[in-house]
């Protein structure tokens, strides 16, 4: 999307992050290297916590971004939970700034699922699907509980040319997706290939998860 905007408008597009609860846009921004958003640490102290245990996570880990404002006088906030998921990078940037950089947010902590004790964000699945040539980002996660054990099924549409005649290749593709998801999330998953255009499309926030455990 960004590359597309840059190409068509012949500009360099810069990502800016902010929350209206803090100051709106301007909490962090990209520099010309476009490699993470520098947080204005002279005004805001960022921390990354585990959204489940609320413990601060070690440097570089993925978790929920939390802010404390240093200079706000009217409405200061302390350890404000943004619900945005990201990680922090403390290395000095190529631009010379030493301000900590946050990655583009990969999801919301509200979306977090706990499966067999492991935290799973649908965005983790999505990024695997986006990386693979064979898969589309149209997917649905179905969580269930069988014999007291959580099960995770991924229904996914694949690119048209991969729906092909040979069953062995379709099965191999299923296994490949399964394997990629497992190595990215540490969770075993059953992949089900579904027909094209059968996963519900929605204008706004797509429904990505069906959690049948809640009904028990």
């Amino acid at each position: 999307m960004r590359r597309e905007i840059e190409k068509r408008l012949k500009i360099k597009a810069i990502d800016i992050y902010g929350l209206s609860e803090i100051i709106g846009p301007g909490v962090s921004f990209e520099c010309e290297h476009q490699c993470g958003l520098h947080i204005n640490e002279d005004h805001f102290i960022p921390e990354i916590i585990d959204p489940d245990t609320l413990e601060v996570l070690p440097e570089g880990e993925l978790g929920e971004l939390v802010f404390t404002t240093v200079t706000k006088e009217g409405l200061p906030i302390i350890r404000y939970r943004t619900r945005d998921l990201t990680r922090l990078n403390f290395e000095t940037c190529a631009c010379g700034r030493t301000l900590v950089r946050m990655n583009k947010c990969t999801g919301r902590s509200d979306d977090m699922l706990i499966i067999r004790g492991v935290n799973l964000f649908p965005s983790q699945i999505e990024s695997v699907l986006l990386e693979m040539d064979e898969t589309t980002p149209h997917y649905l996660l179905v969580v269930d509980r069988v014999n007291n054990l959580d099960t995770l099924q991924l229904q996914v549409e694949v690119e048209d040319r991969f729906y092909q005649d040979k069953i062995s290749e379709l099965q191999a593709l299923r296994m490949k997706i399964q394997h990629q998801i497992e190595s990215a999330t540490g969770l075993s998953v059953t992949v089900k290939l579904v027909e094209p255009k059968t996963i519900e499309r929605s204008e706004g926030k797509a429904k990505r998860v069906i959690d049948n455990r809640k009904m028990i």
Partner: protein, 141 residues
Amino acid sequence: MIIKQLSVFLENKSGRLHEVFDVLGASNINVSACSVADTSEFGILRMIVSEPDKAREILKEKLFSVNVSEVISFATPNAPGSLSKTLQILSNAQISIEYLYGFSIGEKSFIALRCDNAEKAVMEFQRHQMELISASELYKF
């Protein structure tokens, strides 16, 4: 001698197979051979139809995933051992069979077969004077 076969990926949902034939029937496309290979998760419908390119477009419009592959078709005598003799020709020529489907009636058995080298298979069959079925014969109804 090489015949276009359509393969349609189908989830195991009731009514899906019927829908395919419904769409084709409504467009006056005839199905002259078909088989369904199924797994626990999905099935693949393979079929030889009267107008493969048109059928492909029509099914695509209806959001089915359709693939075109090449098969060969032949007839053998409807007698014990005749298929064995035929397949011997392929295995002698180091041609691997992916799958086949067919049936017998009256004097003859009709087979559609996908292998890893359709052109070579056709040549081998011609060399052994086998009765190959042409695309135009199969597409006709």
